[in-house]
Amino acid sequence: MFRPVDYALFFVVVGLTVVVAFLGSRWRAADLSRISEWGIGGRRFGAFIVWFLMGADIYTAYSLISIPGAAFSTGGFILYAVAYGSISYPFLYIVATKLYRISRRRGYITAGDYVRDRFDSEVLSLLISLTGIIAMLPYIALQVVGIRYVLEAMGFPVLPSFIIAYLLVAAFVAVSGLRGPALASLVKDAILWAVIITVVVYLGVKFSGFGPIFAEVGPSHYLISGNLMVGYMTLALASGISWLLFPNLLTGLLSSRSEDVIRRNSVFLPLYQVWLVFLAIMGLVALAKGLVPSKVSSLAFPSVLYAYFNSTFTALAFAGIVIGSMVPAALQSLGAANLVTRNIYLQFINRGASEPQQVLWGRVSVFILIAASLAFALTPAASGLIFYLLTFAYAWLLQTLPAIIISMYWYSLDKYSVAVGWAAGTAVTTYGLFTVRFSSSLLPWMYDVYAGFLGLAVNLAVMLAIHGVVRTSGVRVTSRLRTEELE
């Protein structure tokens, strides 16, 4: 049971994070009426801040709740998360530096800005941007659902707590822009590193290096089940090439001061992957020791904390989980808000919008996106295994790979091929998720292949076919970018 002092500690940590996020608006005094200052922090963050910022962007409530949960319920399959992170960073080293270079030269804030110029098409830009916006909703919803059990364990009323926590998130993003979550990420990651190191060292000593835990759950649980091998590989590979397509991650990357900041971070950010390994092991501990009441997988990590640590440390860790959901949600809503502002408002509603008007739209969009995600979080789809929510987002975003990544390397790629490929890929992905009633992202009717991977394969095949037609029929292809601007 939690004592008053534990509650005090909890509120101090969460409160401190929120205050720091609001103070972000004064950090490195900038003119926040400029959209590049509000939306991507004025492209001036160095390697240190970007390390924390991207850490907060990538390692979220998903890592803290879903990974132990999935290790508890499905076992070795969760290693896919460790695997895809390890292939994501070197891939970013190549593709993120290139998109950064192009964006900096031309002043892009979003992937939609790039797509508009690259293909000279506002419609394609809108399709890609809408994909990004819609994919952010389950991702933010996952952050919301992720803290449900923590709130329950601490005896807070869930719905009012959700609303208060996420209104605060929307408020500090609106006020501070990217500087809010950037500064708050220092608090969030400092606390989570401290919590995770403490838990791992303490339990590592208690369980003799976790060897006995593996022995207790046995190979049938800790290995990837053989019939899910295709699912494992397609999910890992597809997820590992999709990070640049995430609006929230691109926002973080574009805030870097230079390409070199991104390069150095693809060397040092993978250190965070250690979290995933040990958080997965926490799920195995919960299983081996029978700690989880009524098999609710999301309770795996909270149950471990409950069982082995005193109430004060548990309150601190719970505060870490709560801010580990709020700071990422801030970045996700900001990434989506940038798309709404730049690629819907500026392109379709008010072409002559001034910078302050764009920032105002961004601020309002943040509130709308957070409200929509809260609504999404309360639907039945969200109450199941939240681990799958994120794979939906990945599956849809993956269909923008040709528009955003392939187009940087293939100069003659045209908008018709990319648009039709995107439509086919998105349709196949959505149909695939529909056949399993949105309860999984692996398709049992085709070797358990990952729906997003199947969609991407169809997407690329259709794109190549249409490109052949476009080439032979001699349709004129335009771009606002010269070849040398894509170098």
Partner: protein, 70 residues
Amino acid sequence: MGLRGRDLAKVLLLIVVPWAFIVLAAPLYNRPQPELGGWPFAWWYLTAWVFIQPALTYVVYRLIDRRGGS
């Protein structure tokens, strides 16, 4: 090395090697033995790659792109 050779080496170390050893090798590393400190092979192998890949990326950064340090 010319530009082509450098690009090829980067694609090899940042895409081909990690995809092959971390993802495509899954059916090979998905086994309990040999253990290391009680950890099954699959688990310590992937944990080792959490450190091996950044080391390879660093090699690309210093030796191929010739950035950082002096």
